[in-house]
Subunit: 610 residues, 2 copies
Amino acid sequence: MAETAALADTLKNLIDVAEGRAPADMLITNVCIVDVYGHRVVGGRVAVAGGCIASVLFDDRDAAVPDPAAAEVVDGAGRYLTPGLIDGHLHIESSNIRPAEYARMALTRGTTCAIADSHEIANVAGTGGLSFMIEDARRAPLAIKFMMPSCVPALPDEQAGAEISAADMRAFMAAHPREVFGLGEMMNTPGVFAADGETLARIAAAGDTVSGLVDGHAPLVAGADLNAYAAAGIIADHECTDPAEALDKLSRGMYLMLREGTCSHDLDVLAPLVVEDPARARRCCFATDDRAPSDAFAEGMIDNALRRAVAAGIDPVTAVAMATLSPAELFGFDHGHAPASERRGAVAPGKRADLLLWDDLTFAAPPAAVYAAGCLVAEAGRFVGAVAPEDARLRALADELRGSVKLPALSLEAFSYPFRPGEAVIDAIPGKAITGCVRPRTEAGLRRIMLIERHGRGAAAQAAGADGDGPAGLGLVGRHIGCGWVRGYDISRGAIASTIGHDSHNVCVLGDNPADMLAAVRAVGQGGHVLVRDGEVVAKVDLPLGGLMSDKTAEEVAREHDAFVAAARQMGIQPPLDPIMGVIFLPLPVIPALRIRPEGVFDVSAMSYV
Amino acid sequence: MAETAALADTLKNLIDVAEGRAPADMLITNVCIVDVYGHRVVGGRVAVAGGCIASVLFDDRDAAVPDPAAAEVVDGAGRYLTPGLIDGHLHIESSNIRPAEYARMALTRGTTCAIADSHEIANVAGTGGLSFMIEDARRAPLAIKFMMPSCVPALPDEQAGAEISAADMRAFMAAHPREVFGLGEMMNTPGVFAADGETLARIAAAGDTVSGLVDGHAPLVAGADLNAYAAAGIIADHECTDPAEALDKLSRGMYLMLREGTCSHDLDVLAPLVVEDPARARRCCFATDDRAPSDAFAEGMIDNALRRAVAAGIDPVTAVAMATLSPAELFGFDHGHAPASERRGAVAPGKRADLLLWDDLTFAAPPAAVYAAGCLVAEAGRFVGAVAPEDARLRALADELRGSVKLPALSLEAFSYPFRPGEAVIDAIPGKAITGCVRPRTEAGLRRIMLIERHGRGAAAQAAGADGDGPAGLGLVGRHIGCGWVRGYDISRGAIASTIGHDSHNVCVLGDNPADMLAAVRAVGQGGHVLVRDGEVVAKVDLPLGGLMSDKTAEEVAREHDAFVAAARQMGIQPPLDPIMGVIFLPLPVIPALRIRPEGVFDVSAMSYV
């Protein structure tokens, strides 16, 4: 009843402001409002009160309505006013920064709401990792909605650092009421197709989340399997790489998230689906999935998707609706049980005042101004909001994530395996999460790739005598150390290693010689990306939090990342391949075709080792 | 947890059928599927299991997938397959039949889900009336979602038969968990504009309903008032009569319901909004609001709206989406917390198997077949489903509604008031709920209209001596008997009376002479529409349940209605004016401009008596 009384008070204030009986906190005048409902751009004024929009006055109909009184009047100077952007699916950890830093960065690019799946840290540290993410996010004015990672580990037999069962999910949600927004991307597609009991129990557990939604991840799934997947109620997919595949999913009731990240660039290929028939835009959104800070600062995030969508021929108002109204409808933000402070996706009365001012609708530059719940938080790409300091409780949660790298002892012999002519080789495809499979006759143009378990299993097996009298680590090969070959990643005279290796985050190392590979693995320490050339560490990004996230600012990590990429480019890794993203997704066992796992090279389509 | 286990079992069955491991209950082959998500028509097959869709196979992509095994195979013979139609807003009582009869009738026209506001019976009998509606509806296979009437009475000072406060709503919902779907049309617009405490408490009470939604009713509301109304979170409006008004509301985040009923025909005038920009269709639905059975059988219901929408130039797939996907998104049926059996609005896996087969997409004839939750319930306009008989509990609820007409004694003198030149006269507008105001100098072309309180207030005042020594009823004029004049309702040598008089359902009588008016009022008995000519009752529709609903079948009531209308046409009431709907809405005090109330003629815009 107290909640109801508060709701009635909020409504009363909004109504009083709309009717001119109470002053607004802010009045924005002289703007061209992008009206995603009416599908038009129209001049007008917007009054904000208590963090929400109280009134929208359109010049074509409301010119005679006097300006509402307001504590602050902002002259929009004829700029375009849009709702704040919603990122439909992303992993904060993939930006290698903490949630509060991610928030600072994303807000400068107009993202005011992000649906985050903390799948990465959960694979290292379980629900403790999720608790850290939730608490750190509270420090900053970005609304981050946390999904419960559905597949920790990504496949039942993955060697991850933690496991989250349906029962674990329910226990966490009971202990943290209303903190879990939905169930994160269901990537255990075989579990769904088989109607596996534990998988269905996890899907059913989504009923306890705020939205009740289950997000999807179903690359190349079609036919009977796609029907099974959609029948399970899974509502969205961000893994489409082909318009026919995308239409297949759209027609089954799944929202499409056109992904434009750092590793995966699917927007251009999918845009024709909307250009061809804009009616489909109602069920299409944008997502970054994984976005490096350097790219975020250089090109943008969802604003970058907007820019590319418009460049691809999607009408700007439709593109804005895809970044705002469509995800709002998807996630239950537009209407329903949500109070005004949780209603998003449009410049309309009774919605949260997440508002962006733009110089034009090409989205070439970041928003001129970003308001989150009515507060100015960014101007022209610069963060001007407030981030609360870390408190003792949060520090303790962060400290739990340190010291997560527990590697076995390793010798050069473990890295010195031979190439077998005709063996299945991973074919890296720049700009795509999917990989191919090739079977070359010689090792010309190939590089070694290894995945080394780092959560303590390999070290324990070693302590139990797995290596016998042989060289350190050799006895773990095929069990905790996977060895293979990759084509399309042309590193020379060196190696790259990382404690990020999707999704179990074992240490992935790739190079053209065993010595540099061993040196790179040894240099990861308590977490990070490492680049070794001729035996020397030439670049490093420290990631002490779970081996995934830095303690530094987004800007610092971006600079470290840029230096790292520059060094990698010197070693032969050429665009469009991203040196880091191009490595760390190669272990991901839920995206076709071939992947590296601690047991060896894995065929995702056949769900078996080659 | 039992609910969760049941959910997992349902999912398992759907998945097993989709994957071909278990037989479907029904397979529909050889159909052209109207795909509202992909916005296209494409050949395919649909498998149904447990009342839900397990699998949709499209010829363009899934031709190689074998037919799922099925207990029954239905050859669609190349017909069009659409989702079941959703009526976004309606009053069952306005069809003068019980809910189970309404269901039988609506299903024959392809409506498989109806959002019903039992505002009428609630104004007579309070929440007891709502209980009757809910229980009677259970007998038939139409999914009727009952809203809690928000404005009983319609305005605080209305002389209705009952009152439902916010506290009453909460008590009813606590006693009937999950039976109330949302809050019905908020027609007390002055209460919203004023941020009246009781009004806001009712809006806040919507949080306890299944959907959390508040439906709207805001004819001609604009500017600051419209902002206040939308800021209150009111999500839809079915009262638009002008495209500019409609766009105004659409842009404020309100869904538009294009109404095509018996009294109000707003579709043709609003269709250009969608023809001009089909992107707006995502927030546009259809509603019948009030539909006489004779019209329903002759022209249809939402299928009639579809037919007219297509005729008005809306693309058929868009029109189907407006009748299915758009209301499904509005009401939370598409996705979210709803289980598969409550997901509607598309032919897609994991949705309820509410399916229609059509000969063509002009919607000229009723659907060739109607499936409700996978069961065949109608064929070519004929109901073939099952309706359960009335049980003792339901009979008791029905009996509570009988004997509701408590009129005062009346004499001819009460009907014999003079015309005052220049007085404000109600201008009836055929096909519109709104009325005009005229001030004629003479009574040429005018008719008398009276509203007589019938819930016992007038009778009690009379017993307390209100008439003094004067003629019966004369002392009640201006307090419990309102007298006025109307233009545009050309009845001759007689009168029409009804126990339906929106929304308080006092007795409304209209005629060209006092004697026939008195005779008509006397003939209403325990409820009904009465037509008197030259002193004789020439037509009657008995409505013993609350004075609103018949005990007879929809077909019988349609025949009675047709006979009534035919008799009225003989008395000078010409199309497009509906003789019954044209009278019974004249008392409605929440639609501009002039109305008749028990106190006299009322100016809705000024909220005062003239």
